[in-house]
């Protein structure tokens, strides 16, 4: 795949991938950084098939966000540590989906968003995350149980 083709496909997928990452990471900077990393990774080693693009970019970005943490560098300034993204947190907390996802682990959120927002099935999620289909099923079952409990509590 040429760099031009890669950039074109990336641009097409950017909006929903960025929003998916916001839902999982709840931080605009981390979401954008992670997506940038996935773009650069794809320049070097693009996925084998265009059809896999969204899932591939999503999982590469999720992995990147775990490896690459924004850390304080400024020794002479008071640093408050990892800066949360209050505005996006507040936006998500106002959403039904955001509240449901907030009660999940980051891994559960990633798989739930991959299934319900990006439209990946269990087999695709398993392949991209490098886990067994049974693991995906179990993770999603736990996540859905938690979300049901949240719905029950809210009502």
């Amino acid at each position: 795949m040429t760099a031009e083709r890669w950039a074109e496909l990336y641009r097409l997928e950017f909006p929903r991938l960025y929003r998916a990452l916001l839902a999982v990471l709840r931080d605009r900077d981390r979401a954008l950084d992670a997506l940038h990393d996935a773009f650069v990774a794809g320049l070097r080693h693009p996925p084998a098939h265009d059809a896999d693009l969204a899932g591939w970019l999503f999982v590469v970005a999720i992995r990147s966000s775990r490896r690459l943490r924004r850390l304080p560098l400024l020794p002479l300034e008071w640093v408050t540590g990892h800066s949360g993204d209050d505005e996006i947190e507040a936006t998500l907390d106002r959403m039904e989906v955001g509240r449901l996802l907030a009660g999940l682990t980051e891994r559960q959120r990633a798989m739930v968003v991959a299934q319900f927002y990006l439209g990946l099935d269990h087999r695709e999620i398993a392949r991209h995350f490098g886990v067994k289909t049974g693991t995906v099923s179990a993770t999603l079952a736990q996540a859905k149980a938690r979300m049901r409990a949240e719905v029950r509590n809210a009502s």
């Binding site: 990336y10 950017f14 773009f39 943490r69 850390l71 400024l74 002479l76 959403m95 039904e96 955001g98």
Partner: protein
């Protein structure tokens, strides 16, 4: 039971309303505007060249560039004990400008400077040592990002702050900060360690030298081992090898 079709629709309806960043920031390039697909293509092609070029240059020229900028010599410091050579090789970094030397594992190197980073007030020098390959490092690093399992050595103007108090201005939260004393190259110093993320911990060493403060820091996690078998013990050994000229 949650009807999944409904969940799909709710997810799409709600998440599709989340705001997007400006389109100019979607692709990691400094290009501010893209009036046409053709220009986009050119920008992307330039990005590819820059990214690949940067990786190659970083691999080939980082040591030489660092040496030219910082007056670094790869010759061992006179008072640096040979037995501290790590992993079967001597890989000595010597900073004549700020008077210290440090022994790295044989496969470690000086990371290239982070482009676009603005040094904070009072920072006189900063060198990042990494055991990760150029490709791995280039992939990880960002303007305001510390790469876990790298070691950073900074020299700062002390501005009246004592080593024993440096942790207070270094992001070490009072409630979770573990502070201790240590000795580095026969000089008393202080250590601080604090969680930055649930799975990530910052470790810092502060040594006072006149009106300057030498700060060594590294982040560990997630897990007990980083890439290429780097552990906290590896990083502590590097810190312990510090020698002042």
């Amino acid at each position: 039971m949650l009807p999944e079709l409904t969940i799909d629709r709710v997810f799409r309806r709600e998440l599709d309303s989340l705001p997007l960043p400006p389109e100019g920031s979607w692709i990691p390039t400094r290009a501010a505007s893209r009036p046409s697909i053709l220009l986009t293509t050119l920008v992307v092609a330039a990005t590819v060249v820059l990214v690949l070029g940067a990786a190659t240059l970083a691999r080939e020229a980082s040591d030489a560039a660092a040496a030219a900028r910082r007056g670094v010599s790869t010759a061992p410091l006179i008072n640096l004990p040979r037995p501290t050579c790590l992993r079967g090789g001597c890989n000595v970094y010597r900073n004549d400008a700020f008077g210290y030397g440090i022994v790295l594992p044989a496969d470690w190197r000086v990371a290239p400077p982070v482009r676009g980073r603005t040094p904070p007030t009072g920072e006189l020098d900063r060198v990042e040592f990494t055991g990760q390959t150029s490709d791995e490092w280039t992939h990880l690093v960002g303007i305001d990002v510390v790469v876990p399992w790298d070691l950073v050595v900074e020299v700062h103007e002390r501005r009246g702050v004592l080593a024993m108090d440096w942790w207070r201005v270094d992001g070490c939260d009072r409630n979770s900060c573990v502070v201790g004393q240590t000795t580095l190259s026969q000089l008393s110093g202080y250590t601080a360690s604090w969680p930055i993320e649930p799975s990530l911990r910052m470790h810092a060493y502060y040594v006072q030298r006149g009106d300057r403060m030498l700060v060594l820091r590294y982040a560990t996690g997630p897990g007990n081992e980083g890439p290429r078998g780097i552990t906290e013990r590896t990083l502590q050994q590097i810190v312990d090898s510090l020698t002042f000229g």
